[in-house]
Symmetry: C2
Subunit: 214 residues, 2 copies
């Protein structure tokens, strides 16, 4: 398996999404067609695909279904990973109830919260446990992915407990930079960062239109 | 106002979060202290802060509250921006109900959905309208931020309607690369991309441990 950059890795789900949106009769697809459809560079797409699949044929392109399988296999979507969420507020519960993650090989089996009024069984049968049981249950269920949706002040402690219990990848929705040992990956989903980008763009547009009005 | 890179812009919310977590009596704070607390480079923090605030004094550092105000002003958090959500599934409703966005100057005033069973008034008083009224209501309420949480196939059309109605910044949770005119910003929040990164990390760790076992 060739190694792949993080940037290339992040483009693979886009390709996958596009390939899956093609009409069922699309037997073959070229890197050029994918590049054009997604507004990406031809060379880049060609290189990204070559890193994950050896099905490319000159003038023919890729066998569409084979390419889908190769990307999914590379991304590990064919192995279902078990995950838990800590923090069962609005966002945590939304993620717990969202049924689209199975497409990505992710099965969120349970949530944890310190607030006992949130504990119990949800409509979809998934359970919210006391956070005091986090370590024990992660170990027992061999959970490898931990999702953090707690407030900033609690995030590092939750992260430490998860990792002690064997978690290898953390999906972090709290606005904190987490410290983790080597070999553990943190993927930050920082909404505050996104909002900063949006908000600053608007502030700038506003200043521009005020200057235009002068 | 100095210009600032997107990378620097994305670090500002981290600084802000840290500054707000300091004990109330922290009158002054140095760039070095911030850098150490967040594991960032000293020079970088110094440069980032200088771009948004001129309160820095040699050997004293920054007046903490003044620095918080300067960052918030730069990010436009002191102007409340009105936003709407299109797509009132689990994620859309979670965002609509989340009360933490006001901290970032974002007020999500309403949601829209094509499914009439989702339309109506929520517990918190916010309303979910038919998506057919999106353009009209965005114009009337002078909405400048649009949040997209619809399935992939519907996203571009929703985006076009928003922009026609005056939206200048789009927060996109759908797994689609949106096409927008110059002057409009798209901030992608692509969960599929994050999941790809997490999943591939685990697949790699799994392969490593299998190789070790051989």
């Amino acid at each position: 398996m060739l190694s792949i950059s993080r940037q290339a890795l992040q483009r693979l789900p886009l390709y996958l999404n596009y390939l899956k949106s093609l009409p069922p009769g699309t037997v073959n697809i070229s890197a050029t067609a994918i590049a054009q459809a997604l507004g990406q560079g031809d060379v880049q797409v060609r290189k990204d695909l070559a890193a994950v699949s050896d099905r490319g044929r000159p003038k023919v392109g890729y066998d569409t279904h084979g390419l889908i399988r190769d990307i999914e296999e590379f991304l590990g979507y064919d192995n279902v990973d078990t995950a838990v969420i800590v923090g069962a507020g609005n966002l945590g519960r939304a993620l717990l109830c969202y049924d689209g993650f199975s497409t990505y090989g992710l099965d969120i089996v349970a949530a944890f919260d310190a607030d006992y009024t949130r504990q119990g069984v949800l409509e979809n049968g998934k359970q919210i446990f006391p956070v005091s049981r986090l370590g024990e249950l992660c170990e027992r269920m061999k959970v490898k992915i931990g999702i953090i949706t707690v407030p900033a002040a609690a995030a590092q402690k939750v992260c430490d407990t998860m990792i002690e219990a064997g978690v290898l990848a953390v999906w972090n929705f709290s606005p904190v930079r987490l410290t983790v040992p080597a070999g553990v990956l943190v993927q930050d989903e920082n909404m505050a960062v996104s909002l900063a980008v949006l908000s600053q763009h608007l502030a700038e547009k506003l200043r521009e239109s005020e200057e235009d009005a002068v």
